[in-house]
Symmetry: C2
Subunit: 280 residues, 2 copies
């Protein structure tokens, strides 16, 4: 067993990252291992730190390490596991995510089940893997119910509350406005709350809203937000277990072939006060 | 310079703790030092981990280590710095906090300055050092303005939103209800928001509310919350610098006497939408 493993995060100033961190730390504590935390503030500096310290292994959360970076870590003999990578990882790198497609689909099914027919989505653009899966899952639920998702009801935010709020305004102000919207993150769902308030639209009476993540602010929202919950802490603890397996394998005398694992943990749909049947 | 220092936290699931963590990590990165993170889940287990790992030094955030624990760490030669200790630390232990008394006083002065005369407070009970300082500073501002703070307008929460909301209900429902309340934390201020809403009282028209901390949710609140901001990240980075000084001193050949530091960083008053002059 290593005495220490590394944890690399983009930031700790959001509840998503700290939940992942908490899961990793708890699992490490159970195994009697210390976690050295690194916040990746620029592109390569975190790698230098891992190499200098001769890290025994690292869990990398929410970054999109490049092939070059992952190759350098492999060459240095540092096993890594990615949690929710921003871009698709190479085939020889293990990763843990959540069932983003299923999560998006559950959001669509919920809104269809409530009787909505004019349904839209606020996504974060094509740049991230998990965003694309959420959009596809959502569209699949609509298609399955015989509904379409016209481009006029696909709004591109950029993960931020303000950008999503501005982008969705013209769609909500239009004559044929949707009666329900799914946002691919809760920060963007809050942008929808803002836009609805500025137009005098009530949630959920005039507009149903579904978010994604289940951060604490979803519960505190007025009305409390219906959302797709990610098992974030569990993702962290599973990643740490995989990393320990990789480290053990590397130390095995014969160097038997290392199994690459790609795990998606199930999302869970949480119904709160921001969704309701459309008003007649 | 040590290669690694330890960081002990009670939890990472709140923005206060993660800001402190972020300040500590940034300062350590600048110094080329790794931070090993430990979440103190039970009373003594974190100590065992520090001892077993022969920690070179630790920043301890938001716990109230006992004299026995601090003595054991000193005996093991592990220097420590406390950030926002829950109880008063022994005289030979360094600590970093914020100006809680001044912060409480600034809240009182703001409400008095707006013209409020019937003013109350929701505190967290007598158990924690920083709570007591906030209450005293607040009372001082009222006394200075010739106002009193009768026990009927001192409400005891227990840091939680729900408990604070329940505790404040009878005070807000009374005939002589206060026109302004200061809560010693934002979670308790949210409890006041809840109680006011359930009684049909509007914030700030019928009731002004001031919180303490300036966590992200203060900005997101409806209305955005006037609050006392703590320099939490800075508290973390200052603590790390003090720790590195202690480690250097310990390594100095002559063992010159180690200076104990007790630093309070200034709070900052942030005016938002939850306070206004009382309605005539």
């Amino acid at each position: 067993m290593p005495a220490l493993v590394d944890l690399v995060l983009t930031a700790v100033d959001n509840a998503w990252a700290t939940r992942a961190l908490s899961g990793i730390e708890a699992e490490a504590t159970d195994a009697g291992i210390g976690v050295v935390m690194t916040i990746a503030r620029d592109t390569d500096e975190w790698m230098t730190r891992l190499m200098r310290r001769r890290s025994e292994g690292a869990v990398i959360v929410g970054l999109g390490p490049t092939g070059v970076q992952l190759g350098a870590l492999a060459a240095a003999g540092i096993p890594v596991v990615l949690v929710d990578p921003v871009i698709k990882p190479p085939d020889d790198v293990s990763s843990v995510g959540s069932t983003n497609w299923e999560g998006g689909r559950s959001a669509g099914e919920h809104l269809v089940g409530l009787g909505h027919r004019r349904i839209g989505i606020v996504d974060a653009g094509p740049g991230t893997l998990y965003n694309a899966a959420r959009v596809d899952g959502f569209r699949s639920a609509l298609t399955n119910a015989g509904l379409d998702l016209p481009t006029s009801r696909i709004v591109h935010g950029d993960w931020s509350r303000d950008a999503a709020g501005e982008a969705v305004l013209p769609v909500l102000a239009g004559a044929d406005r949707p009666t329900a919207l799914f946002a691919c993150s809760e920060s963007m769902a809050f942008g929808i709350y803002d836009a609805a308030a500025s137009l005098g639209l009530r949630i959920p009476q005039d507009l149903s809203v579904v978010g994604f993540d289940d951060l604490p602010e979803a519960q505190w929202a007025t009305p409390p937000m219906t959302t797709v919950q990610q098992p974030t802490a569990e993702m962290g603890s599973v990643a740490l277990r995989i990393l320990l397996d990789l480290i053990r394998d590397r130390r095995a005398p014969r160097g038997r072939p290392r199994g690459v694992t790609r795990i998606e943990l199930a999302t869970h749909f949480v119904v709160r006060g921001s969704t309701a049947p459309p008003e007649a």
